[in-house]
Each structure stands twice: as C-alpha cells, then as structure tokens.
Amino acid sequence: MTSAIAIPAGPPRAAGAAREVARRTLRKYFRTPGLFVMGMVQAGLFLFSFRFVFGGAIHAGGTTYVNYLVPGYVATIVLFSGGGIAVAVAQDRAEGFTDRLLSLPIPRYSIVAGRTLADFTTNAWSIVFTAGLGFAFGFRLTGSTLDGLAALGLCLLYGLVFTVVFMVIGLLAPNAEAAQGMSLIAFILAFLSATYVPVGSMPGWLQPFARYQPITPMVDAVRAALAGSGSDVALAIAWSAGLLLIFTPIAVLRYRRP
C-alpha cells in the first residue's frame, strides 16, 4: 500500500449526504445530452405540435388557443418529463447504485431528500424553460406580472409533487422499462384533463372523470391565477398536499426496505 486511507472522522450529516446524492443526480442530468438537451427538444416539439398543428382545430372558448394551452402545458410539463425520474430511480436500483447508497452509513431519508432536491431542480428548469417557450410561441399575460408569478409558483408546487410521484413509480417498478411504461400512464392523465382541450368538448361519459381527477383543478388553478382569480387554487393546493402526504412516506419506506 502506497498511502493509507484514513478512517472517516464520523458518520456523515444528513444534510451533507443529501447534498452529495443531489449533486450526483444533477451532474448526471446536465452532463447527459440525452436527458438535458433531448428533454428540451421534446418539450419544444410537443408544444410546437399542439400550438401550430392541433391548435387550429381546437376551440378554447373565450380565449385564444395559445393562451389556453400554454398555462396547462407548463403546469403539466412535469408529467411529460417526469418519466425520466422514474426511469433513473429504477435504473439506480437495478444497477446497484441504490445498494451502494444503502450500504453506506447515511440516514435513508437523506437519499429521498437528495433525489427530491435534484429532481425538483430539473423539473423547475423544465417549467421555466417551457414557460419561456410559451411566450416565444405567442402566449401573453392577460393579468399582472404578479399574477404570472403566482401561476408559476403553482406550477413549481406541482413540479415538487410529481417529483415524488415519479420517484415512487421508479421505486415500485421492477425495472427501467416498466418504469417507463408506468410513467406513460401518468402522462395520459394530462390528456384526460382540461390541459389541452376544454372538458366540455369531451363525450359526456368521460367528462366526470376528466373534471374530478387532480390534473384538471391543478391546471384550472393556474389559468385562474393568471387571470387574477383564486378559484380552484385552494383545491389544487389541497390535491398537491394530499399527493405529497401519500407519496413521500412511500418513497422513504421503499428506500428503507429495498
């Protein structure tokens, strides 16, 4: 042995461990063009298609379609990009990375905290990027800047909620392919909501589901906030809190007993 490796001074602090886990997740995301660049390209093409291809055929009621679409699109972009989180979590489990983390003397919740912090950051980036794209494609604020910021705040809250939801999907899926497939189901929820088309344009038997599933009040709350109204905001926040309360413990427990 050329030089001795020192024994660690003591077990790591939870915050330090979470920061290391987060830093690794972020480095992976921003250094892998397939994740970072393709994420932006896909989000852009999808918005482009809705705005310029389907948009002409969709009637949004009292407003232009771009002003109807963009708030919904930005609010649910995480459902679109979040599959990557589920796949990454499932891959970490399959490829032994999670085993390595669990064999180290760190608190298990620091793994969840670190991943959440990092994935929320990438989600926040998606949200801000897509919002910018929305403006580029013709979206305009009808209310004040403050209303706009309130709407953005709601979108970021949803970003946090779905970070945890997709993490749980990744933890429950047997492998990365299954995680991808299960994420698609979450993505379909966005289609069966008021995100892209008004619920009133759907067939009558579908409307109750579309109206009462959580995505619709979440999207409607963002539209309301942009218009300076608070309708649906309480309901959307309640849904967000409820989903976080259900999914966070599942994530922590799954990391505890892999």
Partner: protein
C-alpha cells in the same frame, strides 16, 4: 472504534434464513469466518451467494437466525455494521457521467469524510488501484476492468474493515479479471478483510484462504482449500498415452489398480481415475503400463481440482468457465461423508 477485538470472528452466521415471499434464498445458513482471512463463498447461480452478501451489507433482514459482523448483530445495529463495511456489488455502481475521482470523492463524503479528507482518500485509492491515468476521465469511457476497479475503490474510500465483493469478476475478460485479482491481493496484503462470492473455482483458488461452499441456501462445506480438497479425499492419477489406440488398454490397468472408473477424453490420449492410495497405486500403474508395453507420454498424481471438489459435494457440475471439460462426465456423484463431516463449520 474497537469493535471486533482479536478473536472475534469476522463473520458469524447462525441459522440465517432469508425469504422473498415463498422463496427461501438462505435456509439456515451457518458459517464462521476468522478475522484476517479472505473468505470465498462458492456456489452456483441461485445458491444464495448474493442474498448472503446483501444480508451482510444490511440490505436484507434475516427472517430468523443471527448474523454478526465483527461481533455486531446486523439486525440490531445496522448502522454500526455500515460503518465497518464496503460493498462492491455485482454491477459496477459508479456514475458514468462523473469522473473516477468525482465518484470516489462523492462516496468518501458519504462515508463521512470531510471535504479535504475525501479528496485525500480518493487520491490514495486512485494511487493504490493504479487508476491515475483515467481518474479524471468520465467513467462512461472506462473499460470493464477499469470500471470494476473503480467500483472496488469506491467501496474502499471509507477504509472499511470488511470488504464485500459480490462476484467481482463476472463478465470480465481474462486480462480484466487479472487486474481485479491483483487489486484484491494488494488490498489483502494491506490488511483488509475480504468476503467474496464467486462461481469461478479458480477465483477462489487464487484469492481465498477459506472457502464456504453453499448450495440451496445452506453451507454444505467449509474449510481451507487444502482441507476442502482433502475432504473429497482421493487423489487423481492422470495418464496420457503416446498412442491413442492403446488408451483402452491403459484404461483397464487404471481401473484395476485405482479401483474406480476412469474418465477418458473422447478420442484423446488422457485417462484419469480417483485413487484411494495415491503414491502406491501410481507405482503399480506405472509398472503395469511398462509390462504391457504401453508407451506413456505423461503420468502423474494430483490433488482434485476445486471443480472436482464441487462436483463431489453437490453432485452436479459447476459453472462452465473453469469446468475442466470431458472429465466432469465420468465422475462418481455425491459423496455423503465428505458433506456430513464438513457441515458443522470450521475446524479450529
């Protein structure tokens, strides 16, 4: 941290049982490993090797039984165990988008090193495992052997007392295997205790002081390599005749003198048979062959290979890479005595 003073076994399993639903992966596993040795857990795929390593690494909880690492009960104080171990699993758990050095520094921080100490530990490991040339490249660009060594390094940056290596060379080409073996030998020389699992018999032969053979979640034999080889007993007389046409005649002599059915290389020149009284039988075989006028290219007495030991213990052939070919087919099957006398654990 003076857990596990001299004399405390490195590892002590008493009736460890682990179940996944209805599947019993470890079925009352008993084993004791003394400190200061390399312990190899030898078994086929599905024998329970990985389950055992994951249980030692506190990733699985035994349904019953007791498992102690350096005297610490894994179920009662997993955190203390985690401070003592380093795990290198079956897949190289390194982040391909980060450099080798970044990976090592991250793991060092997660072991509890402060920033400077983490940097020093990473540098020491890079030095120790000869990763200097590639340390600042992203490990997505590494060869299989380099990635494996880096993974080994990541389990070392916390200066663990016990290193757990789960099939450290599975899937590697021969050169990379040699690299990893070298790295492990250097660690052992530096005083790290190692538990490794393998289904390569030559790997156990190369690295281990002590071998536990497991099958269907139970230890079926345990001991040093010479002890294990001795337990299956009998030496092997191996003959290579100069003229393949005379192999049949040589076989009859071998069968007569050794008292067991010889194994032949189909269409070849080699015959081998187990013998109870090695040297004396060998002398008789040589004499008989000379009297019969059979020219011999090579003749010798050797100890059984690990492959043959494994075969004798489990009654089935081991994994292919080291199976020594046609001979496997010709051997007697189970030898209940050898199994029974080694089931109790390690002779002190």
């Amino acid at each position: 941290m003076t857990i596990g003073a001299t004399g405390t076994p490195l590892l002590e399993a008493r009736g460890v049982t682990v179940r996944f639903g209805k599947v019993t992966a470890l079925d009352g596993l008993d084993l004791v490993a003394p400190p200061g040795e390399v312990l190899a857990i030898l078994g086929r795929n599905g024998a329970g090797k990985t389950t055992f390593v994951r249980t030692v690494a506190t990733l699985l909880r035994p349904a019953s039984g007791e498992l102690r690492v350096r005297g610490v009960n894994v179920a009662r104080d997993p955190l203390a165990v985690r401070r003592d171990i380093g795990l290198a699993g079956q897949f190289a758990a390194v982040e391909p988008a980060m450099t080798g050095r970044e990976n090592l520094e991250m793991t060092a921080r997660l072991f509890g090193h402060r920033r400077d100490a983490a940097r020093r530990a990473a540098a020491a490991v890079i030095d120790q495992l000869s990763l200097g040339e590639v340390a600042d490249r992203r490990c997505g660009t590494y060869s299989g052997g380099q990635r494996r060594r880096l993974d080994l390094g990541a389990s070392l940056v916390g200066a663990p007392r016990l290193l757990l290596l789960d099939e450290p060379t599975t899937g590697l080409d021969p050169a990379s295997r040699a690299e990893v073996w070298d790295a492990v030998r250097r660690l052992v020389a530096g005083g790290t205790d190692v538990l490794l699992t393998t289904h390569y018999l030559d790997e156990a032969d190369e690295l281990a002081d002590h071998v536990v053979v497991i099958d269907h979640g139970r230890a079926i034999a345990s001991g040093t390599l010479p002890e294990l080889k001795a337990s299956v007993g009998r030496d092997v007389i191996e003959v290579a005749v100069a003229d393949p046409a005379l192999l049949g005649a040589a076989e009859r002599i071998l069968a007569h003198r050794a008292g067991s059915t010889p194994a032949l290389d189909a269409g070849g020149r080699h015959a081998r048979a187990r013998t109870a009284d090695g040297a004396a039988d060998l002398g008789r075989v040589i004499r008989d062959l000379a009297e019969a006028g059979i020219a011999v290219e090579e003749i010798g007495l050797r100890r059984p290979t690990l492959d043959e030991v494994f075969l004798a213990l489990t009654g089935e052939a081991a994994a292919p890479p080291t199976a020594t070919g046609p001979e496997s087919a010709g051997h007697e099957t189970t030898e209940p005595n050898a199994t029974a006398c080694y089931r109790e654990g390690i002779p002190r």
